[in-house]
Symmetry: C2
């Protein structure tokens, strides 16, 4: 098989980003996450910091609107389109792992695209974001649910699909077996796809 | 690890039953599907044929109602309870694969229970039920959707959960990579769980 792409969508705090990073390392292929934002920022001609702030935001504020002319796309749509372009570009350049950014949807017509969704029970996610991310919100469960809601709403808005629906993905995995174990299971799936 | 149980829920025509059977064979553990019905039938004191006919039926007909006294449970509930008992029994006896029958829900408090959901794109399922099951309905897509609906409604009624929701399972897999490949990926997951 030529190039292949693994897209990873993930619940907040499930360790999906880390799984993607480890997977890319073990498969010796490129890894894209925030790096993609940087590339997209350059692409759209918008400041990197602004692009990061706009991440997962669908609506545009009144202030942002002031900068728009009647002929322009809203800033959030501009960023999304720039990201789509970057995702398609890096996917053409070589095998890679892409975390988030609706990459599964953007690459829906690419045959060598393996779509993965990572989730975990709430108690595992609370533990992770407290211990690993050092997050200290008063109500972590609410905070996590809000992050998931943002991801789902961003995905559903741009793709007209349903974020986290099992049938959208080749593999959905509960990461509570641990990061290395999850990586090994996904690697097995990638091996099955790439040997076809 | 001592005994472990793999439960497999599956979309109609996804090959989930076959995957479960192959998996059990490769892991050299017991496999339960229709066999479970036979055991449940004996347990409930109802005729095997009748139990099979009642499969996935929640509601009871007027005729069946005639046989009920005010103190009796509906026949469908009786069968479900008998199946639950059998599922818990076989899970205690030794490692096994159980296909369908809400086994993931029935064994929700069993720590060594690995929950799997198998799905496949519609065109793959149409192909499978035509070629493998020899099904020749005029509109196979409608037929498949109806079977899925029955499974979902049966599961959701008895478990108050949501059939096919990614977060309910340790692994959801698209079987379009093939039966042997799907079995190998699930085997990798089982290996990760059992070596903990």
């Amino acid at each position: 098989m030529d190039n292949y792409i693994v897209t990873i969508a993930r619940e907040y705090g499930s360790g999906g980003r880390l799984i993607g990073k480890e997977l890319a390392k073990e498969l010796d292929i490129a890894f894209y996450d925030r790096e993609l934002i940087v590339l997209a920022a350059k692409e759209s001609g918008l400041a990197e910091e602004f692009v990061q702030k706009m991440e997962y935001k669908r609506t545009i504020s009144f202030i942002n609107n002031l900068y728009m002319t009647g002929y322009e796309l809203p800033v959030s749509e501009k960023i999304f389109l720039a990201q789509c372009k970057v995702i398609r570009q890096v996917a053409e350049e070589g095998s890679c792992v892409i975390v988030g950014r609706c990459a599964d949807y953007v690459l829906r017509d690419v045959p060598n695209c393996i779509r993965v969704f990572v989730h975990a029970p709430m108690e595992e996610r609370i533990k992770r974001i407290r211990e690993v991310y050092g997050e200290e919100q008063p109500n972590l469960e609410d905070f996590i649910r809000k992050q998931d809601k943002n991801r789902a709403s961003y995905y559903n808005y741009y793709t007209h699909g349903k974020w986290g629906k099992a049938q959208n993905y080749h593999l959905c995995i509960d990461s509570s077996i641990g990061i290395p174990a999850s990586v090994r299971v996904i690697k097995e799936l990638v091996a099955e796809y790439t040997k076809r």
